[in-house]
């Protein structure tokens, strides 16, 4: 049963990841990312992290990717044209080979490290939500608060960067890409 669910959602994640990277239309890429993230969320639940899996769907697919979609539609991004720059094909080949080499290295290293053997049954302690919360707000409280401050800073920064420049000031310091920021 677990094998069937893993097979389906792993295949889904792989195929949609390929669509994200290969498709010309940014809207379709974004929607494929939604599918990938949702499939990964299900895999999290299979791995005994239901809280993280649900949180992934809630935060990542439900909010972050909506933001992406928003920006894509706002900017009305068109399908990417065929590459006209010389040497473009070489870059693609090189990137593909590099990624494949990295994949081989990582996959073999991970396989050797975990032995490819069966894991024991899922410890209920791992899945338990209350102990997760106790550990999070116990040992990791400072990190939690710092991440909260980081999010606040990100919100302020995003607002300032994306603000329409004032019509009165000539150059409008915000939108100058060479400005010191």
């Amino acid at each position: 049963m677990e094998l069937a669910i893993f097979a389906i959602f792993a295949a889904l994640a792989l195929v949609s990841a390929l669509v994200v990277v290969l498709h010309r239309d940014p809207v379709k890429s974004t929607l494929s990312l939604v599918v990938t993230l949702f499939a990964t969320g299900v895999l999290f639940i299979l791995l005994g992290a239901p809280f993280i899996g649900v949180l992934q769907v809630l935060v990542y697919t439900g909010a972050i990717v909506v933001l992406f979609l928003f920006v894509v539609m706002l900017l009305n991004l068109q399908r990417e044209a065929r590459r006209s720059e010389p040497g473009g094909r070489g870059q693609k080949v090189f990137a593909g080979l590099g990624a494949a080499a990295f994949l081989a290295f990582t996959a073999i290293a991970l396989w050797r490290a975990t032995g490819g053997a069966q894991t024991g049954p899922l410890a209920p302690d791992l899945v338990d939500l209350q102990s997760f919360a106790i550990e999070l707000f116990g040992g990791y409280l400072l990190t939690f608060e710092v991440v909260g401050v980081l999010l606040l800073v990100a919100v302020i920064a995003a607002y300032i960067v994306a603000k329409r420049p004032e019509p009165a000031s000539g150059s409008g310091g915000d939108s100058n890409p060479e400005g010191s920021r």
Binding site: F44, I52, V59, L126, A154
Partner: protein, 101 residues
């Protein structure tokens, strides 16, 4: 029959490689950003996989923080894209080369 954790880890490695190839190859800024999110997601999968293997909850907690940081990064990055588009009328990162040779 339960699925060995190494399968999840290999899947994460494959997703990471796909994300890397995408980030290196595409011209459209948003698609590059999506590939980066793919990479972050595969790292999350690896973390949760190891958390399961080692019976330690630390992996899951770190994933929570990675999620939050990815959100912050997405917000700022997209704001940058909006500002870039407003100024240069393009997201094609090959055209944004003022600081190149």
């Amino acid at each position: 029959m339960s699925v060995p954790v190494s399968w999840y880890l290999v899947l994460a490695a494959v997703l990471f490689a796909i994300g890397t190839a995408g980030a290196l190859t595409r011209r459209n800024g948003i698609t590059i950003f999506l590939s980066i999110e793919l990479m972050l997601n595969s790292v999350n999968l690896t973390l949760v996989g190891f958390s399961r293997l080692l019976e330690d909850r630390t992996g899951q907690i770190v994933v929570l923080f990675v999620l939050a940081v990815a959100a912050a990064e997405a917000a700022v990055g997209l704001a940058l894209f909006i500002a870039l588009y407003r100024h240069r009328r393009t997201i094609d990162l090959d055209r944004v080369n003022l600081m190149r040779w």
